[in-house]
C-alpha cells in the first residue's frame, strides 16, 4: 500500500480566534440570523450560521477546561448541519452579518472573508480554483449568489454584485456588476445602461 502526500488544507484564516462580527454578542448575532431567516426554526441556513457563530465564539473562550467540551459540541453540530441540510461552512471562514440562505443543499463556503447581507441559494460553491491552490475568494457586501454558482480562486467580488445561476466566476468582479454564464460574462444591468445613457 502506498501513501501519497496529503493535499494541503484549505487556505482559510487560521481560526485561532473569534472572528464573529465585532461588537455583537453570540445571542444578539443568533437573534439577528433568526430574523434574517424569517423566524423559521427549521431553515438550514439559520442552523448552519448558528453552528458557525458558535464555533467562532468558542475560540474566544481561552479556558483549557471549558473549550474542549464546546469544541466537541461544535463538531457534532457541524456534522449534523452537513448531514441534514448539506451546508458546509468551516468555522474559520470569516462571515459578516445578516447572511441568508434561501435554500439548502450542496453548499460549500470556503471563503476568506465575506461582507454583510449576502444571499445564497442551493448548490452555491465558494472555494479554491484547483486542488492545492493557496487562495480563497474575498466577497463583498450585498452580493446575490444564484443556485449552482461557483466562485473560485483568490478573487475579489465587489459590493452590490449579482452572480447568476450556474455561473462559474474565476475573475475579479467590480462593485455593482452582474455576471452570468460558464465562464462568467458581464451582463448589462438597468443601472449600467442608465449610466451609459446619461
Amino acid at each position: 500500500m502506498t501513501i501519497r502526500p496529503l493535499p494541503r488544507r484549505h487556505p482559510l484564516p487560521s481560526g485561532s480566534e473569534n472572528q464573529n462580527p465585532a461588537g455583537m454578542g453570540l445571542i444578539d448575532l443568533l437573534r439577528e440570523d433568526f430574523r434574517t431567516h424569517d423566524h423559521d426554526a427549521l431553515s438550514g441556513g439559520f442552523w448552519a450560521l448558528a453552528v458557525h457563530r458558535f464555533g467562532n465564539w468558542r475560540m474566544g473562550i481561552k479556558s483549557a477546561v471549558l473549550r474542549p467540551p464546546l469544541t466537541a459540541l461544535y463538531r457534532v453540530g457541524y456534522q449534523l448541519v452537513i448531514a441534514a441540510y448539506g451546508i458546509d461552512i468551516p468555522y474559520n471562514a470569516r462571515l459578516g452579518r445578516r447572511i441568508r440562505f434561501e435554500h439548502h443543499g450542496c453548499i460549500f463556503v470556503g471563503v476568506w472573508s465575506m461582507g454583510d447581507d449576502v444571499v445564497f441559494r442551493h448548490s452555491a460553491t465558494i472555494g479554491l480554483a484547483r486542488r492545492g491552490a493557496s487562495e480563497a475568494p474575498t466577497i463583498g457586501s450585498r452580493v446575490e449568489i444564484g443556485p449552482g454558482a461557483c466562485i473560485v480562486g483568490g478573487i475579489r467580488v465587489g459590493n452590490d454584485t449579482h452572480i447568476g445561476a450556474n455561473t462559474v466566476l474565476a475573475d475579479n468582479l467590480a462593485d455593482g456588476a452582474s455576471v452570468l454564464g460558464n465562464p462568467a460574462q458581464l451582463v448589462k444591468t438597468q443601472q449600467a445602461v442608465g449610466n451609459e445613457a446619461s
Binding site: 500500500m1 502506498t2 452537513i82 450542496c106 449552482g148 461557483c150 473560485v152 450556474n166 462559474v168
Partner: protein, 202 residues
C-alpha cells in the same frame, strides 16, 4: 563467517529492487485484487483519516458491495451484501451520495465536500477527485447496458456541479471545470469547461 562487503551490498541492492517491484505491483493492483482491509485502510489515508467525511463512507460502502459480488455464496457474502446495503442506503439518505454497485471504482478516489452525487459510471479510475453536485449517467433515459455510461480514467479532476452524460470517456489526468456538461470524449491531459464542455487552452 564474515560476508564480504561487496556481496552484502549486492544482496541489499537486489532486495531493494525486489521490494520496489513488489510495491509497484501493489500500486498497480486493481481494487478487486487487494485485501479488503488494505483497500479500506488506503481509503482512510486518502481521506486524511477524517472519519466523518461523507465520501469516505460512500466509498467504503461501495467496496463492501463489490467484495460481496466476488465472494462465494455463504455467510460472508450475505454479511458483506447486507453491510453494503445498509451503509449505502444510509449514506444516500444522510449525505445524498449514490454509487450503484456495478460501477468499477478505482483506488484512492476522493469525493470532496458533502453530497448530491449520483455516480453511475461504467468505471472510475484511480486517483480521481470528484466534488459535490456531480452527476455521471446515461445521456437519455435509463442505461440498458453499462457501455452507455461514462468512463472516467485515472487522475481525472472534476470541479463541482459537473455532469458527464452518455458513453463518453474522460481521458487520463483531464481537468473538468465547475458546472461543465461533458457530452463528448475528453482527450487525456486537457482542461475542458462550459456547457457543452469545450477544450480551453491552459
Amino acid at each position: 563467517m564474515q560476508v564480504p562487503q561487496r556481496l552484502k551490498r549486492a544482496i541489499d541492492v537486489a532486495g531493494a529492487s525486489l521490494r520496489s517491484r513488489v510495491r509497484a505491483e501493489e500500486q498497480r493492483a486493481s481494487p478487486d485484487e487487494m485485501r479488503l482491509t488494505a483497500l479500506i485502510a488506503e481509503d482512510l489515508v486518502t481521506y486524511e483519516g477524517d472519519l466523518l467525511a461523507p465520501g469516505l463512507w460512500a466509498v467504503v460502502a461501495h467496496r463492501l458491495g463489490r467484495r460481496a459480488e466476488r465472494t462465494r455464496p455463504g455467510v460472508a457474502r450475505v454479511a458483506l451484501g447486507g453491510a453494503h446495503t445498509a451503509l449505502a442506503r444510509g449514506v444516500d439518505l444522510v449525505w445524498g451520495i449514490k454509487i450503484p454497485r456495478p460501477v468499477a471504482l478505482g483506488r484512492r478516489v476522493r469525493l470532496w465536500h458533502n453530497g448530491c452525487m449520483l455516480l453511475d459510471a461504467n468505471s472510475i479510475g484511480n486517483d480521481v477527485h470528484i466534488r459535490h453536485d456531480t452527476t455521471f449517467g446515461a445521456a437519455r433515459g435509463r442505461a440498458t447496458t453499462r457501455d452507455e455510461l461514462p468512463t472516467i480514467e485515472d487522475g481525472v479532476e472534476l470541479g463541482s456541479g459537473v455532469c458527464v452524460l452518455g458513453a463518453v470517456c474522460v481521458g487520463q489526468n483531464a481537468v473538468v471545470g465547475a458546472n461543465s456538461v461533458v457530452l463528448r470524449d475528453v482527450p487525456a491531459g486537457v482542461t475542458v469547461m462550459g456547457v457543452p464542455a469545450r477544450v480551453i487552452p491552459t
